[in-house]
Amino acid sequence: MALISGYHQSLERNVKTEVVLDKIKMDSRNGSFLKDYINIEQLRAYTPATTYDVYLETKLRQLTSKLFSEISVNSAARDIVQNKQFKEIVAYGEAIVPHILNSLKREPSILIWALNSILKSKISNKPLSIQEASNEWIKWGKNIHLV
């Protein structure tokens, strides 16, 4: 419950941010401003939500592909969570959570560990399989209208 209420607070913050972002939407329609804001934090602050979502979706796909190609025959979760690409996914924080959930909907995966790291919580203290934990995370996301 603490996890969910914390997430709602975070969503409220995001809604306020989006109101501000709406004001610059008109100026950004030509897309030219993007090249001036290559810093991620600036991009997060000044990019319209929809554009930022597309950016995050693309970035998640790229990072995940690179992550898996780098770990390949390595079976160690300890190495996976220390991998540069994994850490970059986690560094996007709560904004990337809906995209991870969408990815889990397409295919259950060890990206649940990124959710564990970002939200600092497991979905359950029961011993779940990767598939079961993925399903539980999706259910959680649906309950709070993230997916």
């Binding site: 979760a77 300890r78 649940i112």
Partner: protein, 162 residues
């Protein structure tokens, strides 16, 4: 999501190409790891962690760690005992434990046809001739062979006798 295939990593396993008639036995799958596959589970990762991650399992009674001995203790928990020979013995199941330096890296399991099976990281499962086929830059060397009575074999044999 694009997942890697072992086909792109074969350079890490020179013996596999030179000496083994290996074959792919499963699609690429990231829902279980090699240790889980060696203890015949294909839906969890078996690895010691601090307990902060979903879907990762390690028996509470087994000390957590990554030394060679920690993996031996895990398989001892599952009733395996050390042995010296990787050849097939009727009524027994065998596993081979691999390590690089002081750290365990992989485990493979013998099948009832005498061949060996391995889950290759997030890549495919393969069937290979010998546990030594996987020695190399990827997993290091086999440092321990272990065996236990194969209960399903006993059951099948008893049913045949009846």
């Amino acid at each position: 999501m694009t997942l890697p295939s072992l086909r792109g990593e074969l350079h890490l396993f020179p013996n596999l190409i030179e000496h083994s008639n290996f074959c792919f036995k499963s699609p690429i799958d990231q829902k279980y790891n090699c240790i889980a596959w060696a203890i015949i589970k294909n839906n969890v990762w078996v690895e010691p962690t601090d307990g902060n991650f979903d879907g990762i399992f390690w028996p509470e009674l087994v000390p957590k760690g990554f030394s060679h001995d920690h993996l031996i203790q895990l398989f001892t928990f599952f009733e395996y005992r050390a042995c010296d020979d990787s050849g097939f013995e009727e009524g027994f199941m065998k596993v081979a434990l691999y390590g690089t330096g002081e750290i365990w890296s992989h485990a493979s399991r013998q099948l009832v046809n005498g061949k060996w099976t391995s889950k290759m990281g997030v890549c495919e499962d393969i069937e290979h001739e010998s546990p030594y086929d996987l020695e190399g830059a990827g997993y290091g060397k086999v440092y321990q062979l272990m065996k236990r009575a194969n209960s399903s074999y006993k059951l099948a044999k008893n049913q045949k006798t009846k």
